[in-house]
Amino acid sequence: MRGAEILVDVLRDEGISVLFGYPGGAMLPLYDYLYESDMRHVLVRHEQCAAHMADGYARVTRRPAVCMATSGAGATNLVTGIATAFLDSSPVIALTGQVPTSIIGNDAFQEADIFSLMMPITKHNFRVMNPKLLESDLRSAFKIAGSGRYGPVQVDLPKDILNAEIDPLPEKYPVRANGMKKDLSRLPDAVNLLRKAERPLIVVGGGAIWCGCGQDVMELAEMTISPVVTTLMGKGAVPENHPLVLGMVGMHGRRVANWALEECDVLLAIGTRFSDRMIGDPSSCRTKVIHLDIDSGELGKNVTATIPLAGDARTVIREMIMAMAKKTGSTPWANRVGELKERCNCDFNIMDSPIKPQKVIHELNTILPEDAIITTEVGQCQMWAAHFLRCDGDRRFITPGGLGTMGFGLPAAIGAKVAAPDRAVVDIAGDGSLMMVCQEIATAVAEDIPIFICLLNNQRLGMIMQLQNQFYDGRLFAEQLGAFPDFVKLAEAFGAKGVMVDDPSDLSSVIEEGTSSDKPFLADIRIDTEEQILPMTIRGQAETKIIQGKCAWKGVS
């Protein structure tokens, strides 16, 4: 069998039915084999987006997904997408073409040392130099990407390896994958601490999404009468309409959630790495922390864990539930939190003109189906979505929280829609981010992938404007996008449908049309160009600074 044939066989055997890629000289042996295979290939318009699409696909299916690019520039274009997947622990497999083994290192045409370039942004990577190892390296790639803490794996494929005649493996080669260190020795202490807590709080991060332990978390929360907050990456893990769920914490989190984070006496942290945008200065975290993560390397990295637990969240939470006695009635803490939560629930159905972004999110909350998938770009649009969007039921929230990659949302939405064609998929976009990847509207049209781009168009880099206003004396610079395009015409130029909205009363009908459209749909929503994403909470060592904005939270009185 030829190398390319073995490759496709392994992919199929690993459950892969779709590839996101872009061909090139070094990858043509593979594409020649794909010609006669039943594998779906989504031809992207830029390789970075192939990685984001595979990422979006992987986040919906919680299984490894594959992107591919040719050698040299094709492979280097994947780097941003793979780094995004790495920081958000997404199991993306990147297959890169490479020049033939005989000329590697000669600065051959379209040669880049992508093996070195990918090393620090992958969980592991391979360069297949021996055709006999092709299959075992590919199998190892899947094993590594989709076990323990998920993460991207790259496999570099020299052209002669794809062309080589390889005997099928007579026996199974050992698959290389280090197991994660598991340490639950302090589980009884954790149960005790949680049981005795007067003001317990549970914070769930992206890890809870990957292992799908949301229901177990809520069961534990109800037993211990613990309020639950989420990080940006954990948004959607637990239903935000549950009385115990307070929403997102962090720099642009909800006030009541941040308040609870400061006031709790025991914090059970599940699958979160306490990033600086979540916790601010780590020394501001003064509570007792039970830190549960599948990656022991996260325990004690940013905040000191009173009790570290290294293991799979779902298993550990089940064990906690078994060991815990159910509390009944209510507690002063839970009553207090419930009261404050009510005060934090403001009405943001604002009918102002120009349109307020909060109003757009309000309409999305009302109109989007219970199982909608929402992706975001980066900046104000992302934070408006994170703060105001309600993820109840089965809604998924997919955002590039770690790397903050502008241009992630559109390709991730395309990948998500391929993974879940029956669910509504919305990209909440900003005009800056969308301009970075707008060519992928062509991919969506060509491949018949009807995603809805909900563009919050303020004709500027709003987050830059906001930060320059807040921290640089209003010296606004390089934040006006000036000659911004006519996005409706842009969508139409690619063959998608585009509608401009500047009247808040038109929003609901346009969003309904976009959500149910059978072809890619772009709503160019002209929002208030001066609107900021507030409140903004900056947790420092000495004090917590809060920029309140319109937020009506009266706090504790």
Partner: protein, 120 residues
């Protein structure tokens, strides 16, 4: 001085992968010895860093690498220091404990020298 010893796959790129973890965590490697070992297709790396915290952080990161098969921090009784020292009269080889070899180098004030630490 903290000594970390590990068994790794003896392949191209493995040193880069191991060193990458030190780069990421801003830890300087003081000395490093790499060579063939008793296991076929594997190599042993013995390296030193300053500070117990650094050693433990490096250990935590390195043991998760798929090319690292065994890793440990070795205690002082197992350390061996080496140095090759040169001045106009010629070269001298020094072997001993880290303290002994460092002391000898200090007193000899050689023109050139290279010092490394090994351990089993």
């Amino acid at each position: 001085m903290q000594v970390i010893s590990m068994i790794v796959n003896d392949e191209f790129g493995v040193m880069q992968r191991v060193m990458g973890e030190f780069t990421r965590k801003k830890i300087n490697v003081e000395t490093i010895v790499v060579g063939k070992c008793e296991l076929e297709g594997k190599a042993r790396i013995v390296l030193t860093v300053l500070g117990r915290d650094n050693a433990e952080l490096a250990l935590e990161r390195l043991e998760r690498l798929h090319d690292v098969l065994e890793i440990d921090i070795l205690n002082e009784t197992r350390h061996e220091a080496y140095a090759l020292v040169a001045n106009e009269e010629g070269k001298v080889r020094l072997i001993g404990s880290i303290q002994e070899v460092t002391k000898l180098i200090d007193s000899m004030k050689p023109e050139k020298y290279i010092q490394a630490v090994n351990a089993l």
